[in-house]
Symmetry: C2
Subunit: 354 residues, 2 copies
DNA sequence: TTGTAAGCGTTATCAG
DNA sequence: CTGATAACGCTTACAA
């Protein structure tokens, strides 16, 4: 299966072995490894051949020590949503594949008073190459400042413009919600309820603004009785749904600020024997796995997570590299790939009002 | 906020600084760091004080290089279930907290012919301390052998006895399913359908055996017409549900081998206008997030993921350490915490047949 | 109980 | 273009 006669139980070859075997110095081998431009082509080939034969792989720890920088990208998050975290991981890893970087995962506990200190300790210890911060903790400017103070690269994922383009990958939640609610209005809805996300969350705020802007554009006013605040969790959506739907003159549609709460609203509608979407249209946000599996399947707004994650990884990697006389720097300047539009995923939970 | 006058922008102190400042040798500082037992208590305190003051943190890269082992635990998986992967991550990380270990994530592509080679390349490059293998790839003996050949510790998570206790953390799916189906029978069901997982998966096999054993214990026979094979995904559950429910003399209950497929069956039941659970009881497996959010909430079987993940981490850490005259070895022998019983989560999708 | 010297595997410096 | 030589920060002999 493996043509090479590599013997895993034996010590791995080191740069010294390669140097000896190919009759050059360590430094030259190092140059080959690092694709130094000023290197005789013949020498390079000779060394490369030996590397191939022996199956030599540079030791990442030693490189990290000598370079005084490591090759770790950390995903720092406070698990808002399993699907999203995993999607981010996969997107980032897709860009990290075939590089020497590894992804390390770092859940933190927002709420815990030690949260910032925990991240600080992590930075001190590992000195990672870069951080990807997921919402909602990505909204904390304190964390960004912390990274900066350590000279650690970082990218924040968010729902709005949180930072400069070098440190931001975002979707414009406000726009997406405005358009989705406008669609609801276009379907004929005039009485549109709203389940807000928890205050203090930028995403919750942006989504509210989008909702209000859409109403305003149609000459409608938000109705307090049709509005409730939730905490992005199912139960809060259920409670909000019950509260909103128990009133006379209930809305014909409800926008819930995320899918979990939308599922709760759906639950509440069922409890009252309402038919969704005939009696009540429901719009969610996130397009988590649950959305497609609900009955009826939920119309919702989707972040382009994979693309955003890849962009984040690119920004982290294509950063001011060492400007070595000896080394080729990759000039991949990241353009301005900071904003990614979210899209409305049409399923079956929205219909014109009866 | 931070009383210490540590200056992050300045170079971190090294072991040399500590040695100089506390008037001892590097080696002595090293001994303090590594809690060597043979060390004068006074010396230790003195050095510790300096470490505190300076905020010194040993460089993990340098340690890894000198020790010829790193402090990375890798979670290798190709798991369709986001909730489970994240639960595993959190469980493992809970044990890794306050250690020098970091968790790195390594999704692989089962199905890809290069899968084993990919893992091999990863092992060669990073030489991680240990691997946690999640199902379904944990079932591949080839991967376990690969780890062994690299002298890399590993733990396989599984649905049955896949390996020796040192390398296994499992739940007994067969037992759990047998009991759950027995419960269904206890509720009065005699016509119980089955949506099987994809062949080739150990979990699918074990769950089938549990189902059959429960039937056998009640003197019932599996009915081919009420059995379909799915691929653990929603659509396959939907298809299976449609096929099973479209027949005359349909079952009064269906056990689907995971929640996603159960959601599909539920979908199919709705399409036919069946009332769940009155007309049809449904039992799932996994207790993913979706289970609680479906309508009706799904009765399902839950792996104790967090506990299992912690156990896996413990097995990886409490492994044959260097037996140094100078160093205290932690004798935490892992007992035999290999098996974790799954539990039936009662919700609303099961009722006695009409 | 502590220190000295010699690595671990790589890269940077600076001469040839 | 290439190669000695000295880092990088820590650990393990082996002494003292």
């Amino acid at each position: 299966m493996n043509a090479e006669k590599s013997d895993e139980t034996t010590a791995k070859p080191t740069i010294n072995d390669i140097a000896r075997l190919s009759g050059v110095s360590k430094k030259t081998v190092s140059r080959v490894i690092n694709r130094s431009p000023l290197l005789n082509e013949a020498t390079r080939r000779r060394v490369d051949a030996v590397i191939q034969e022996t199956g030599y792989i540079p030791n990442p720890q030693a490189r990290a020590l000598a370079l005084r920088r490591n090759f770790l990208i950390a995903l720092v998050h406070d698990n808002p949503n399993a699907q999203m975290v995993l999607g981010m991981q996969q997107g980032i890893l897709a860009m990290l594949a075939d590089t020497e970087y590894e992804l390390i995962v770092r859940p933190v506990n927002r709420g815990a008073p030690s949260m910032v200190a925990d991240v600080r300790a992590f930075l001190e210890r590992q000195r990672p190459h870069g951080l990807v911060l997921l919402p909602p903790i990505s909204e904390k400017d304190e964390l960004a400042a912390l990274c900066a103070s350590f000279g650690c690269r970082y990218v924040r994922m968010g729902s709005a413009e949180l930072d400069g383009p070098a440190h931001l990958v975002a979707s414009n939640d406000r726009d997406a919600v405005r358009e989705a609610v406008a669609y609801l209005i276009g379907q004929g809805h005039r009485r549109i309820g709203f389940v807000q996300g928890p205050s203090g969350f930028r995403s919750a705020h942006e989504r509210r603004l989008g909702y209000e802007e859409a109403l305003a554009a149609a000459g409608l006013d938000p109705v307090a009785a049709w509005t409730r605040e939730g905490d992005y969790r199912f139960d809060s959506g259920l409670a909000a749904g019950r509260a909103i739907l128990s009133q006379d003159g209930r809305p014909t549609a409800i926008f819930a600020s995320n899918d979990e709460m939308a599922a709760g609203v759906l639950h509440a509608a069922r409890e009252r024997g309402l038919d969704v979407p005939a009696d009540l249209s429901i719009l969610g946000f996130d397009d988590t796995a649950i959305a497609a599996h609900l009955w009826p399947p939920l119309t919702t707004i989707r972040w382009p997570i994979a693309a955003m994650a890849r962009a984040a990884a690119v920004k982290l990697l294509s950063s001011p590299d060492r400007v070595d006389a000896d080394t080729a720097g990759d000039p991949a300047s990241a353009g301005d790939i900071s904003f990614f539009p979210s899209t409305l995923v049409h399923r079956a939970s929205i219909a014109p009002p009866r």
